[in-house]
């Protein structure tokens, strides 16, 4: 059988100041799935996401990416995993660091060995996808928030990851960009984990939804079932917007 894209076992984590954010998360995501990761503010979604490529060291529990254990000690393995798992951070300022947008998007592919015309092509394409081509020579920190978010998405797309993890990708995007991003995600043949507070967006894009609450998974089902289970939603500070209905 095919190894699942992601397999998380009993993952627990406390921040250095002692705050425990994850209390034993178990989750399996198969290749090609698109899964929405829902949950109230402070549930631990970002903390979980940061584990998926070894940014937070796994101190308790295990994570497997395409069958390979994420292990902070194993530098080579980590490097490989990081080229497979692309994370779009919740805060674009954490993601962008090069002097120009173009260099920033080129950073990942460059490290993967691309050079010259090939590199150029990847960068141009990624920027075109998110509609930021004309900003190529601008410094990223001189962009509007939504523009920074789009560039952040481009930096990750340019790396062609097999597993794409997006932490609230739609926030601060204008509605058209939001739809365009959905179109991009649908067109890619990758596993997608998307953290979001935007229920309609989750419904539109993901077949399956998982709710993380207070550091554990409390629901894992078809998105439709999750979003129509009123008690479940209410218990986890989730609701559908006024004026919105499923079907």
């Amino acid at each position: 059988m095919l190894e699942p894209s992601l397999k998380i076992e009993e993952l627990a984590f406390a921040y250095p100041d002692g705050n425990q954010a994850l209390f034993g998360v178990n989750l399996v995501i198969n290749k090609g799935e698109r899964v929405a990761l829902l949950g109230p503010n402070g549930a631990g979604k970002t903390t979980l996401v940061m584990h998926l490529n070894g940014i937070h060291e796994t101190t308790h529990g295990k994570i497997f990416v395409s069958g390979q254990l994420v292990d902070a000690q194993d530098k080579e393995g980590l490097k490989k995993i990081r080229s497979q798992v692309g994370i779009v951070f919740q805060d674009p300022d954490d993601q962008l660091f090069m002097p120009t947008v173009g260099e920033d998007v080129a950073f990942g592919p460059y490290n993967m060995g691309l050079r010259g015309a090939e590199l150029e092509k990847v960068v141009t394409k990624a920027l075109a996808l998110v509609g930021m081509s004309e900003y190529k020579d601008r410094p990223p920190h001189h962009l509007s928030f939504g523009q920074r978010r789009r560039v952040a998405v481009a930096t990750v797309l340019a790396m062609k990851p097999e597993i794409l993890v997006l932490d609230e990708p739609s926030s601060n995007l204008d509605p058209a960009s939001r739809r365009e991003l959905a179109d991009i995600l649908r067109s890619l043949d990758v596993t997608v984990v998307m953290v979001t507070h935007d229920m309609p967006y989750a419904y539109e894009l993901c077949e399956r939804a998982v709710i993380l609450s207070q550091g554990i998974i409390v629901a894992d089902d078809k998105t439709k079932n999750v979003l129509t289970n009123e008690k479940l939603l209410k218990d986890n500070r989730l609701e559908l917007p006024v004026g919105f209905s499923i079907n």
Binding site: F13, P16, D17, Q20, T59, I216, I217, V218
Partner: protein, 225 residues
């Protein structure tokens, strides 16, 4: 205390440049063990802070300039080896980018600030930490006192170099008195900054402090579906 070009003669500069190169080589060996993925950027940030703080140059009585050194601070945060490297980098960049400290005097400056400042500071830190109870605030106090003492120590290094190869005509005694005297004053500022910075890091990210190894808390596991 950044020595400019032509202030100490060439042979002396050469000797200290060689000494600095040797010291950096040793620190590279030592730092390899303690610097990992996460602490390498901390060394960079420490360098940045010291860089920023050292930009505040103010003249000292006898004519030379004084400023904070940051040697003890760096040693407590990232360990003495990485601190030596961080300070050397600061001095390197200052001389290349801002003409602060002569290019030919780099060896002299690295010796005073990146070696004496760091290692004397770290030595005192270890000593004082031993004398105090094992608490978080002891770390802050020890770092602060180490900061105070490291400054005149580094100034003494300058006087030594001056005695060997100084091109100026002031007597060594005069320079010694002026340098050490004023640097005790600067040391007080150094102590305050070091204490504040170490205290702040201890308060919310004690895991980052080299001079303190706290014990990690136990994790609780809850039932998930």
């Amino acid at each position: 205390m950044h020595i400019p070009d032509g202030f100490i003669d060439l042979p002396t500069s050469g000797i200290f440049a060689a000494a600095s190169a040797a010291g950096i080589a040793l620190s590279l060996k030592g730092a390899k063990k303690s610097l990992d993925e996460k602490s390498a950027p901390l060394a960079g940030l420490t360098a940045t802070f010291i860089f920023a703080v050292q930009m505040l140059n103010f003249p000292v009585a006898a004519g030379t300039s004084g400023h904070l050194l940051g040697g003890a601070l760096a040693a407590v945060l990232v360990g003495p080896y990485a601190a030596t490297l961080a300070l050397s980098v600061v001095l390197l960049m200052q001389s290349f980018l801002f003409a602060d400290g002569g290019l030919s005097a780099l060896g002299l400056n690295i010796f005073n600030m990146a070696f004496i400042g760091v290692w004397v500071g770290y030595g005192f830190f270890l000593l004082i930490r031993k004398l105090l109870p094992k608490t978080k605030s002891s770390i802050t106090i020890a770092a602060s006192i180490a900061g105070l003492l490291s400054v005149p120590a580094a100034a003494t290094g300058f006087v030594l170099q001056y005695a060997i190869g100084g091109t100026a005509t002031f007597s060594v005694q005069t320079v010694l008195a002026a340098m050490v005297g004023t640097h005790v004053l600067i040391g007080i500022g150094e102590a305050i900054i070091t204490g504040l910075a170490v205290g702040a890091v201890m308060a919310s990210r004690s895991d980052l402090v080299y001079g303190w190894r706290g014990n990690s808390s136990l994790l609780e596991i809850r039932k998930s579906i």
